[in-house]
């Protein structure tokens, strides 16, 4: 495997429909399939690690024996998910090791979105966050209105207190 080559595989898997359970049923070992959502703690879906066999990684491999004999600072990692063709380039840190881990995490999320679209973890979390935000707004509005009504009631009862009971209509 040359430092600049990519391993070529047959045509990538076609885009799958929504539904994590359906995807789980379609999953078969060794097919290099997409990341699948599984039930994590508290029914919160989590992402399965990508199948390493479906990945092609590229980082600068020092010429010669490596190790002490070289001092390379090119720690950029380029990671490709072959079935989908998605590529991530990560140079967030000065550590090859950490860049490899980060690249996998980013690629994992991208693959999820690619295959699961609206059902992907990222999109679901976004919708949930939006939903919570709307709920908070709504509650805040209701509380405000309640206070307003109470205030009005108080104001009107104080006013009425000053008049004779059974006052004019």
């Amino acid at each position: 495997m040359s430092a600049s080559g990519w391993l070529r595989l047959p045509a990538p898997l076609t885009r799958m429909g929504p539904g994590p359970r359906r995807l789980a049923a379609l999953l078969s070992p060794g097919a290099g399939v997409a990341a699948v959502q599984v039930a994590g703690k508290k029914d919160r879906p989590a992402l399965l690690p990508l199948d390493e066999g479906a990945l092609e990684e590229q980082f600068v491999k020092g010429h010669g024996p490596g190790g002490q004999a070289t001092n390379k600072t090119s720690n950029c990692v380029v990671l490709k998910h072959v079935p989908s063709g998605l590529v991530v380039k990560c140079h967030q840190t000065r550590s090859v090791d950490q860049n490899r881990k980060l690249a996998r995490k980013i690629l994992q999320e991208k693959v999820d979105i690619f295959y699961n679209g609206e059902d992907s973890l990222a999109h679901r979390e976004k919708r949930e966050a939006e939903k919570k935000k709307q709920e908070r707004k709504k509650r805040a509005k209701e509380t405000l209105e309640k206070k307003k009504r109470l205030k009005e009631l108080w104001a009107s009862s104080t006013h009425a207190h000053g008049e004779t009971p059974g006052g004019s209509e």
Partner: protein, 357 residues
């Protein structure tokens, strides 16, 4: 407003500048003094071209690290995107010029910046102390895998107790200490600068209470005796000098001119310090204690053969692990039982069986 004022001051300070756009040929002015209007991206491109012209390896990477560093980031990609296009101040430009000047002298980037990261820790770097290599991060990962999980008697006693031979900047010891909260370390190096730098890095990371840093040459006679007071060790870890003597000449100028050759030269077969560590290990390690080494890809075979020729050491080559480039790079050697002719392990245990009377 301030930015434009700064730019004007820079322009006016150039000798021969007559003001206005017509007074100075724009291209030659740019050549002598970079205008303050250049952005980070433009600067990286400019210095990449300069480095390439001068035959500096990793021209783009070097340029990116320098510019990112001056802008307060570890890598160019991790910079806030807004900063990529903003013009830099004259002070920043000057700083970049100084650092780039050092890189033009083939100084390793890590020395140019005066710092580098290892296992997520930021460490000070200073010549001639050996710069941690990326492969060595995997050595630490392996040690953590082997040590951390499962019931650990050592942990209950406030361990593991780790010896690092040839600590350099302290990378291995300090990263292990930070990931194993109960561990303690003894780190030795024969270089005074290394001892000093490891101490400084330990203090920067507030780990100084858990590490003893000792100037020591393990190859000198009787040096190991100085280590006995710390008690039997759980682990010995090392990235010892392992370059073959004949390969020392082929090292890149960055390494040859700036790093301590004693941190690299392992003798004729690169085995000198490796053999010394393995020979000392049985006297220092607890029973079933481990040694983790980074080595040259030719060493696993050589070490295997050497251990077979030394049954007196009671050491076993347990595993060989490859680095991210697929080269056999790391060794796990374990001590099994007391070596012949050496005092019995000091750990409390069941009394030895009585000989038939």
């Amino acid at each position: 407003m301030e930015r434009w004022g700064g730019m004007l001051r820079v322009l006016l300070s150039v000798p021969g500048w007559r003001g206005g756009t017509g007074g100075w040929a724009f291209s030659s002015w740019r050549h002598h003094l970079p205008p303050a209007g250049l952005s980070a991206t433009e600067l990286v491109n400019k210095w990449t071209a300069v480095f390439e012209k001068e035959g500096i390896p990793e021209a783009r990477e070097s340029s990116e690290y320098i510019v990112a560093h001056v802008l307060g980031a570890k890598t160019f990609q991790s910079l806030r995107p807004a900063l990529w296009r903003q013009p830099l101040t004259p002070a920043q430009l000057q700083c970049i010029r100084e650092l780039s000047g050092r890189r033009l002298q083939r100084m390793p980037v890590q020395y140019v910046l005066g710092e580098w990261d290892f296992q997520g820790l930021s460490l000070k770097m200073a010549p001639p102390v050996f710069i941690p290599r990326p492969e060595t991060e995997e050595l630490v990962e392996w040690v953590l895998e082997e040590v951390a999980p499962g019931p650990c008697v050592a942990e209950a006693q406030g361990g593991p107790l780790i010896l690092e031979v040839g600590c350099g900047s302290g990378a291995i010891s300090l990263s292990l200490l930070s990931r194993l909260p109960q561990s303690r370390a003894v780190a030795v190096d024969k270089g005074a600068a290394a001892v000093c730098l490891t101490r400084e890095n330990a203090q920067r990371l507030r780990l100084q209470d858990r590490i003893h840093i000792v100037p020591l040459d393990v190859t000198s006679e009787g040096s190991w005796a100085h280590l006995l007071p710390w008690g039997p060790l759980d682990l010995i870890v090392s990235n010892p000098p392992y370059v073959f003597r004949q390969d020392m000449e082929q090292l890149a100028p960055e390494i040859r001119s700036y790093e301590d050759p004693a941190a690299l030269d392992g003798g004729e077969k690169g085995m000198d310090i490796i053999e010394r560590i393995l020979a000392l290990a049985p006297r220092l390690l607890k029973d079933s204690g481990s040694i983790f080494l980074e080595v040259d890809p030719r060493h696993p075979e050589l070490v295997g053969g050497w251990l077979q020729s030394r049954p007196d050491l009671s050491l076993q080559l347990v595993a060989v692990r490859r680095d991210f480039c697929g080269r056999p790079r790391f060794l796990h050697v374990r001590r099994s039982g007391a070596p012949d002719g050496c005092p019995v392990d000091v750990q409390p245990g069941p009394p030895p069986a009585r000989a038939p009377g």
